[in-house]
């Protein structure tokens, strides 16, 4: 009921806003994906074949007759486990002083790399899911920050532009945490959750971040860099802790009329010396207007600072090659299919999650480090 009311309010907003001197834009996107793997659970797939991943998001943008613009987005998702989630992706106010200086405040999409601001928009990327090595539950980047920011564009030379973002506040980072698992153990079959130490949610406070991107190099090439730095407060055995952590990364993207080539490399580190790196390259080629072939290679590694029992080192690694074929009805509706070859268990795990700590070594030796996955489905936006 709560979900229904939330969506109803959003959908009715454009009607309610009529004749108020404001311009209201309602946009949205959604997907349905089928996934089947040869064993482990990964992305939308499991061994039995999963039909349950669907989601819908609605984005509202209200332009007032002043330099103020208000943006908000809510989502409803049905997960692989056939559970419903509803939430607020972002809500923020933007005040435009000029093209070179815009001020933002609220829960704002995090400007980091290529995809953070369009995290779940399927029609804005060649594959169903973003590369997990950078955008998965690895704690490298997140969807939104809460706080204040500045943003702008400056022309550079005849045909290039520099876009920049500077922001500060708080970030919520979420990471699958094999280290936590090894230290504290977990309950059998309890899956990835904060309670059992397998999923770590961090509040990164007093955070500052920024992104610089030079657009239009040789007409179609964008190059950029992003970074953030903040503090995570914790309570370890009754002792208050305050540790810094940071991420930085580099991006490159060529967006031609028929081909796309992009890649990113990101590193996240904390005061304890743990480092996670992730990178990917993806290529898409369109032919006969509607058809597209896509390929991606990605790699992620978590530096091992602990003595890892034999067989468990795969929990720290993710390597994936994916091939796909898409049919675009237009830019707003696409049918996608893809095959993924995965090595490592950082994101691809057996159904049911982690076993008890005492069973870890046995479990590790039985762990299938290779996963094959097939996905088929549709993504759309309006």
């Amino acid at each position: 009921m709560r979900h229904f009311l939330l969506f109803l309010i959003l959908m009715l907003t454009p009607l309610l806003a009529q004749n108020t001197g404001r311009t209201v834009f309602l946009n949205g996107y959604g997907e349905w994906v089928y996934g089947k793997s040869d064993g482990n659970e990964y992305l939308a797939g499991n061994e039995a074949g999963n039909y349950d991943r669907t989601n819908l998001s609605l984005a509202l943008l209200i332009q007032t007759d002043t330099p103020l613009t208000i943006s908000a987005q809510v989502f409803w998702a049905n997960t692989r486990e056939n559970e419903s989630e509803v939430g607020l992706d972002y809500v923020f106010a933007l005040w435009k002083f000029s093209d070179a200086l815009k001020f933002l405040a609220g829960q704002v999409k995090q400007p980091f790399g290529i995809y953070t601001e369009i995290y779940d928009v399927g029609t804005a990327r060649p594959f169903f899911s973003l590369p997990q090595s950078v955008y998965g539950n690895g704690g490298l980047v997140t969807k939104a920050y809460r706080g204040l920011g500045f943003s702008g564009y400056l022309p550079v030379g005849e045909s290039m532009e520099l876009s920049y973002d500077l922001y500060g506040g708080k970030l919520d980072l979420e990471a699958v945490n094999p280290i936590g698992l090894l230290v504290t153990g977990t309950d059998k079959g309890s899956g990835l959750s904060e309670d059992n130490g397998a999923l770590q949610e961090s509040d990164v406070k007093n955070m500052v971040g920024g992104r610089l991107v030079l657009h239009g190099i040789l007409d179609r090439l964008d190059l950029g860099a992003s970074a953030f730095y903040g503090h995570e407060e914790g309570d370890e055995d009754g002792v208050q802790s305050d540790e810094y952590n940071y991420s930085y990364g580099f991006q490159g993207e060529y967006f031609g009329n028929y081909s796309e080539l992009r890649g990113e490399w990101v590193l996240h580190a904390d005061e304890d010396g743990y480092k996670t790196t992730g990178w990917y390259v993806e290529n898409a080629f369109r032919f006969r207007v509607n058809y597209q072939v896509v390929a991606r290679y990605e790699d992620a590694n978590l530096d091992e600072q602990l003595e890892v029992p034999a067989g468990l080192s795969n929990l720290f690694k993710h390597r994936e090659f994916a091939l796909g074929f898409n049919y675009w009805f237009n830019t707003q509706f696409v049918i996608k299919t893809s095959v993924h070859w995965v090595e490592g268990n950082r994101y691809a795990l057996p159904e049911g999650g982690y076993p008890e700590a005492a069973d870890l070594t046995d479990w590790g030796s039985q762990l299938d480090s290779k996963t094959r996955l097939f996905m088929l489905g549709a993504q759309f936006s309006f």
Partner: protein
């Protein structure tokens, strides 16, 4: 050939060089129009590109720029997109998806009728649009801008 005759031939050749895809004397594929009170006479292709991608949203006098697009299926839109934005309409629409869902900007309104575009521009001092080169504009309160490639 005498130097003067050479010069005349060269001059004639230059006059026949294509302008916006057409030969001299032919109508260009599109013309860029603004409100007649807009002081601008000339605009560069790069400025136009920035305006239609909303990277430049204010005229020199601080007034808000209101660009208007034709519908994606219009041949003139396709030509404008290729020549000025140097992108297919599909790539431009993909660009707008990113802007919209990042909550940063919305695309220019898309209008299917060129007469409606002219009507919008004639009623809005900050407006800018393009119509087919052979679209009748006489007696309309709009001004045609010269587009330079530099």
């Amino acid at each position: 050939m005498k130097p003067i005759a050479k010069t005349l031939w060269l001059l004639l050749f230059c006059l026949l060089l294509p302008s916006h895809g057409g030969w001299a004397g032919e109508k260009p594929a599109f013309v860029v129009i603004v409100h007649r009170d807009n002081p601008l006479e000339k605009i560069s292709a790069d400025q136009l590109s920035r305006i239609f991608l909303k990277k430049m949203t204010q005229w020199d006098d601080g007034r808000e720029i209101s660009p208007f697009d034709l519908s994606p299926s219009a041949e003139v839109r396709n030509k404008f997109s290729q020549d000025i934005l140097r992108k297919t309409v599909s790539v431009v629409r993909a660009y707008w998806q990113r802007q919209v869902f990042a909550g940063r900007a919305v695309p220019p309104p898309e209008i299917s009728e060129q007469a409606e575009v002219v009507s919008q521009v004639s009623g809005d001092p900050g407006a800018i649009a393009y119509v087919a080169g052979d679209f009748p504009l006489s007696n309309q309160p709009v001004k045609i801008l010269t587009v330079s490639q530099d």
